[in-house]
Symmetry: C2
């Protein structure tokens, strides 16, 4: 199907989705030509730290070949080739000349899909180009940094009929999927409220010593600029993705509006001042960091739930996703927030269940695919979430199946960044979400975690 | 000074406060005439469950007499007289004829102060009348349910020169005061963010069985109407009071604006439907409850901090004040939120201190007055917080001293109810706080927890 998707085919595909025919992952949109022996061929755009992590998991599979990789950093290419060799794969053809050479990779006819794991601002344009080149896209988070970028993804998908899976790995956390099972089994009654966030002391990631940008390596090269220039929830999807799946966002529900409030910005400045390589006279101590240390966003959904999202990356703290779920029959706090649960009529009145009692609940509602792939997931590292994310992506590409985390999820979740920025800049005015589904959210049915692809 | 406070005296008093002369509790504004032997005389308006709790603590003291009590419920009067007798005190003169008979009590010349613990809507008008009658007021929370009610308190204080102590008891929680000590000692660096709230499953309080109003007793008689009629943070002060003290609100800082978002209302309806005395056909199952089950409010302060307040009273859950404090050097979670602390450079990197390690921190920064009165407080019940609140009130009345929790605190904290209601009704628009101090917040210095009165 690669190069002859026309407007008619596009309409067929998207109408099928609109009518609810493509409601479960596994609904096969078309065979991939290179997939005759259950094999798929995946290219990689961006093989820095994060890209190589995907490369390692995906090239370690027997059903995947990786003929092409792309990165502007030759050192990243060298390290990526070693990952391939270590996994018993051939070295890939490398595309490294300049920032636009990824388009050459996309011209290849032997790729069924691509993983995009580049700096944030490249995510949307690269994914759009990849969809136009009819490559099944696996896109790292966030999907876009602007509202236009979110819309571009949706339009490219709808115009080309090409799929995009949004690689939001926290959706595959064991506790996230157990809570999904609990909701399916009505354990919490009607869900009413959730909290989530990205609470991660990134000061050591944002700086090499106290340097960033050209003088720095890895993410400090580009990520830190966002903290300098923008006051917004820069990284909402790890928190909000799982909650969106619990609340069936874009499938019977949607984000209606948000309001965001940012604290002052103290953390990064203080870090530079206190650092042995910094001090009050270091040039970076003169910078005016736009990002408030903690940005709190409240979303109201069409079904009446609220979601409180915390973006907290400039201050000392232990890591957390900040998960809480509260319904008419119970409340749950996730692994970083105390691991505790209270279910009316089952828990001792007014008392949390924690420790072994908590574990028993989580075991009872463990997701079947987590049970099945537990060992493989554990060996893959990162708590297993990347294993399931990449597994799902590869299975989707194999079958050219509709992804369980799709382009509408990518757009809605990532739009929180520009919308929170707008809210903050207007004194915490509430700001409406666009409806990226064009009204189809009303009829679309939940699919995530509900099929073998999951 | 009782009946001859004129405009001139008022100006002297408030100007003294304005100039920072009355900065510490213990600054004596004038002797109380009945206080010649270190004795004070306290009247009680409202001797329901909450009023009798104060009555028990205060009448148990050797330095207090209670000559007058007031309640429209004769049964409450009977129970209150028993409290007095059990404490070895004479029965008080009872005022019980009608809702306005409290004014007769206020006409008495033998009262130095009054405690007001009536249904919410009476708090502000009764406190205004009490200040006009030159009785030192101890006012239960919330101080008012409307913005006008907040202003009335401030104006009455400024016009009469009479003091009001706001009886927000959570300010005296041991952990709240320890955190105050930690902040004074710069343990958290610059404070940036806090969370708090009133997370209390009140369904059993809001209903007798599934009845409320005239058919019910105690708080279900009147409190439940607020959930029926208003969508707002109805009860903000237990959470926000302590945070306001940590952040020096009205004393070098102030609440600037807030934005509030409410969930749908499911909890109370579901409770009635599921209750053995209720069911789907019960008349109360037809009611349209205005109060969203969870109301989340974010306040931005003049100094750039944010405060996230949760009002959560309609759903099953264990009790919590929801306290978190986050600064440039560390983060803390309170007794209901995991009891854990992380201090940069002292805690193991990226790891919470909990259990004994947490306790050691709390012990190190235990407030001196908690250490001193620990046993007395423990015997008084309620975790000791009421002991310290009432002790402080009595000491303030004895010396006619400026209270550590004053009328401006009462107004600012309580104004969250009408302001959150306005924000919610306008689709979570951000709403500015009035400046109840008339600009004096800029120069006023922190006093709470800093003197023997504390």
């Amino acid at each position: 199907m690669k190069n002859n998707v026309n407007r008619r085919n596009f309409l067929k595909t998207t109408t099928a989705a609109g009518l609810g025919l493509a409601l479960t992952p596994g609904f096969v949109l078309g065979r991939n030509p290179s997939n005759s022996q259950g094999q798929v061929s995946i290219g990689f755009i961006g093989v820095g730290l994060r890209g190589r992590s995907h490369l390692n998991l995906i090239s370690g599979r027997d059903d995947v070949t990786v003929p092409a990789i792309c990165d502007v950093d030759p050192d990243a290419i060298t390290k990526a080739q070693k990952v391939l060799r270590d996994n018993g794969k051939k070295e890939a053809e490398a595309y490294t000349e300049d920032a636009n050479v990824y388009r050459k990779l996309l011209e290849r006819q032997d790729l069924d899909g691509v993983i995009i794991a580049t700096p944030w601002r490249w995510h949307s344009p690269m994914a759009v180009d990849a969809m136009k080149a009819h490559k099944y896209v696996g896109l790292e988070v966030p999907a876009a940094t602007t509202l236009d970028g979110c819309w571009d993804l949706v339009k490219a998908h709808e115009e080309t009929g090409t799929q995009l899976m949004f690689l939001e790995n926290v959706c595959y956390a064991r506790e996230v999927l157990a809570v999904l099972q609990m909701l399916k089994n009505n354990l919490f009654g009607t869900p009413v409220h959730a909290t989530c966030g990205y609470k991660h002391d990134l000061r050591g990631v944002k700086f090499d010593g106290v340097e960033f940008g050209e003088k720095a390596n890895n993410e400090a090269k580009w990520r830190t600029q966002h903290s300098l220039k923008r006051n917004a929830d820069l990284y909402p999807t790890h928190g909000v993705g799982p909650v969106a799946k619990w609340f069936n966002i874009n499938r019977g529900n949607r984000f209606e509006y948000l309001t965001s409030v940012a604290t002052k910005s103290e953390g990064l400045h203080q870090y530079i001042v206190d650092h042995p390589e910094g001090g009050p006279d270091h040039p970076n101590a003169k910078l005016d960091w736009k990002l408030g240390d903690i940005v709190t966003t409240i979303i109201k959904t069409a079904n009446g739930e609220t979601i409180v999202i915390s973006h907290d990356t400039n201050l000392p703290r232990p890591y957390s996703w900040g998960f809480t779920l509260h319904g008419t029959k119970g409340i749950w706090n996730g692994q970083y927030e105390g691991r505790r649960i209270y279910i009316e009529g089952k828990s001792k009145q007014h008392q949390w269940e924690s420790g072994d009692d908590y574990d028993a609940w989580m075991k009872k509602y463990d997701h079947p695919l987590w049970k099945k792939y537990e060992n493989a997931a554990r060996e893959a590292g990162h708590g297993g979430i990347d294993y399931f994310t990449d597994r799902t992506f590869v299975e989707c590409v194999k079958q050219n199946a509709y992804p369980p985390i799709d382009v509408y999820d990518a757009a809605a979740w990532s739009s929180i960044t520009p919308l929170s920025e707008e809210s903050i800049s207007l004194g915490s005015k509430s700001v409406n979400f666009p409806d990226f589904t064009g009204g189809r959210w009303i009829k679309r049915e939940p699919v995530f975690g509900r099929s073998k692809i999951f």
